[in-house]
């Protein structure tokens, strides 16, 4: 039916790969600032990071829906690699006919307020402005950016080693978020963007990537909470036998299910070839997943007691990412405002027809 066999197989094999190679030790090590090179190599060998590209460009013409499903698995395992960023960078660079390479990539700008301006300079270009908090920029072999050119948005692709030295930063999951300042930075090539590829499209697809990864991280938090509650004994019985705990876990499972469903709603829109619909369905997804994460993190921690508050125990790998990702590529209030503004603009009588898709 809705989930295709290919998707299911891909998810299972990604699940096995992460299970073996994305252990807590690997995530902990990556959080100290060392790139998880072995994990990246293994994921890269599956072809998933660039699978959306046409076969002619070294991809597999894969469905975006499948690749986003893979991001959910990556989110479940707190994978400390720029998988979403590489997918999106590859998409932009290949649509614009720019260089791709086969290493980890990052993409930007990821912040709505960033300004990057490209001007002509003889046969080449000059780039000015700031790309703040680019994920993994200090580890990326290539950086793909959408910038404001003289006649509209353009894409540039630069080698990591030639880029300005990033100012290192990180989110509260210790994932690198590095800021690059371009001061009359010279580039020999820049390319126009085809229809459908734009800064707005990057922003929303980035938001959907985070929403999807969050739905995976929520699955992990819920799995840990349910398992722990059945093992932890207090007052002579597993705490899962107490009704108050059961009710918390029931709500946690509801919020997890909602998050997966909301992310899927966004993912579904990718195959419909309707940018307006894609924009508001992804806005709905990021809004709903963000809300779910806030409540679910609270509950998953509550069920765990003090152990969940330690570095030793894995729950924090999921929750610190959830608290980071819900703010990245636009927070849930930011996207909720877009949903509200969109539907108010369409008028009350169009709410239902738009929602039902006609």
């Amino acid at each position: 039916m809705a989930i295709r066999d290919e998707t299911r197989m891909l998810l299972e094999s990604m699940g096995r790969l992460f299970e073996n190679l994305c252990t807590k030790q690997v995530v902990d090590a990556a959080e100290t600032g060392v790139f998880a090179a072995d994990l990246w190599r293994a994921v890269s060998e599956t072809g998933v990071p660039l699978a959306a590209l046409p076969e002619s460009a070294g991809g597999a013409d894969a469905e975006w829906a499948d690749l986003y499903a893979a991001l959910r698995v990556a989110g479940r395992f707190s994978a400390p690699i720029p998988l979403a960023e590489t997918m999106l960078a590859g998409w932009i660079a290949s649509s614009a006919g720019l260089e791709i390479g086969d290493g980890p990539m990052t993409v930007g700008p990821v912040r709505a307020s960033d300004k990057l301006t490209l001007t002509r300079d003889g046969n080449g270009w000059r780039l000015n402005g700031t790309a703040s908090r680019l994920p993994y920029a200090s580890h990326a072999e290539r950086i793909v950016l959408i910038v404001d050119g003289p006649d509209g948005e353009m894409a540039v692709s630069l080698e990591g080693s030639t880029a300005p030295t990033p100012a290192k930063g990180k989110n509260i999951a210790n994932e690198s978020r590095d800021t690059l300042v371009f001061d009359n930075f010279h580039l020999s090539t820049a390319a126009a963007l085809p229809k459908g590829v734009s800064r707005a499209a990057l922003y929303r697809r980035g938001a959907l990537a985070r929403a999807t990864m969050m739905s995976g991280a929520l699955e992990r938090a819920m799995d840990l909470a349910v398992t722990y509650a059945q093992e932890r004994v207090q007052f002579g019985r597993p705490i899962s036998k107490f009704q108050a705990v059961q009710q918390n876990l029931a709500v946690l499972s509801e919020q997890t299910a909602v998050a997966v469903a909301a992310a899927n709603l966004g993912i579904q829109s990718l195959s419909q070839g309707d940018e307006e619909r894609e924009e508001f369905q992804i806005a709905i997804a990021k809004t709903r997943v963000g809300e779910a994460a806030t409540l679910a993190c609270e509950l998953a921690h509550q069920v765990h007691g003090a152990i969940g508050f330690t570095k030793e125990y894995s729950l924090q790998l999921a929750t610190r990412r959830l608290w980071s990702w819900r703010e990245e590529f636009g927070s849930d209030p930011e996207w909720a405002a877009k949903v509200g503004t969109y539907f108010c603009g369409k008028g009350a009588d169009n709410l239902w027809p738009i929602m039902t898709g006609d």
Partner: protein, 382 residues
Amino acid sequence: MATPMFRFDPVELPPEAIKLRGEVRAFIEEHKDVMGFSRGEHNPEFSQAMGKKGWIGMTWPKQYGGHERSSFERYVVIEEMLVAGAPLSAHYTGDRQSGPNILRFGTEEQKSYFCPKIAAGELTFCIGMSEPNSGSDVAGTRTRAVKVEGGYRINGTKLWTSNAHNADYAILFCKMAVDEEQANDRHAGATQFLLDLKLPGIEIRPVINLLGEHHFNEIFLTDVFVPDHLLLGKEGNGWNQLTSELAFERSAPDRFLVFFQMLQQMIRMAGPNPDKATAVALGKLISQLATLRSMSVSIAGMLAEGLQPNNESAVVKDLGTRYEQDIPVVARQLFPSEPELEAIDVYETMIARSTMNAPRLSIQGGTREILRGIIARGLGLR
């Protein structure tokens, strides 16, 4: 992962369901004058008109008055009707749960008699489950049936029975005497009957709700004689049958569309250029609704595949009532007004009706706590 996850695989409505939507909207437009807000009125003419369209018992076998259409088509008809505020009471319970339960457990004779009449919108059913001392604890029923020559003699009291004053039949849940070795089994002896509400010994008294409306009732049964052929299913199998009936009840999309028109009204009042806070608040509600709807379509997909999405239905009902109860809360923050039931201003009436109706949503059809208990069982915790 070892933990069971409730899956709502994304589903696209099939073309026949999409095609039907236009037809349903045209029908609603024709019957515009009977649409309302959160009233669910009893309107047999409207139900019969829907019956003529083939929109009751849509998924049932043709042999029993059904139309053998998909659960997606049924889903579309129901969601359009709910959004419009159509008066569905005269057939909704029969369509949603009594009919399906008769089809599942009834005799050939019962199926041939009741189901075509329900599908025609000519027979109204109600749910005879709750009692003064048995609410969430349905198995604690004190209504007793005793086998007598040619039938059963029934005594007891039912309470909160919605629409009983307009209904022809109730599916009655009660107990029969059990052997001593079964005495510890709380579900032993449970039995269901198709109860003709016109029988001697039945008295139906209104219970006025807090809106001042006559919606539910108390039913007194004094030595009511029910003939053998109106036993539903088997003696002692009532618990099993009731569980199935409740699953039919909960899988319907009617737990998040009750206040839809109020969301629309808020969008109208916000205007085309809302301020940030208004846009955020409305955007959150719309995002919740869109997600609930996609989960509900997914449930229709599970039903189409012959699955029994009992846990998933409990999830959607619990989330759906939370969302509905938030609507008047958000409304009064965005657009303060003093609620009045029969106000000239539509919005004042809506905020009055939604505020006053909100509490029932997480009580009827299984309370919030009971639903979460079902979900916890689905997680393997109990």
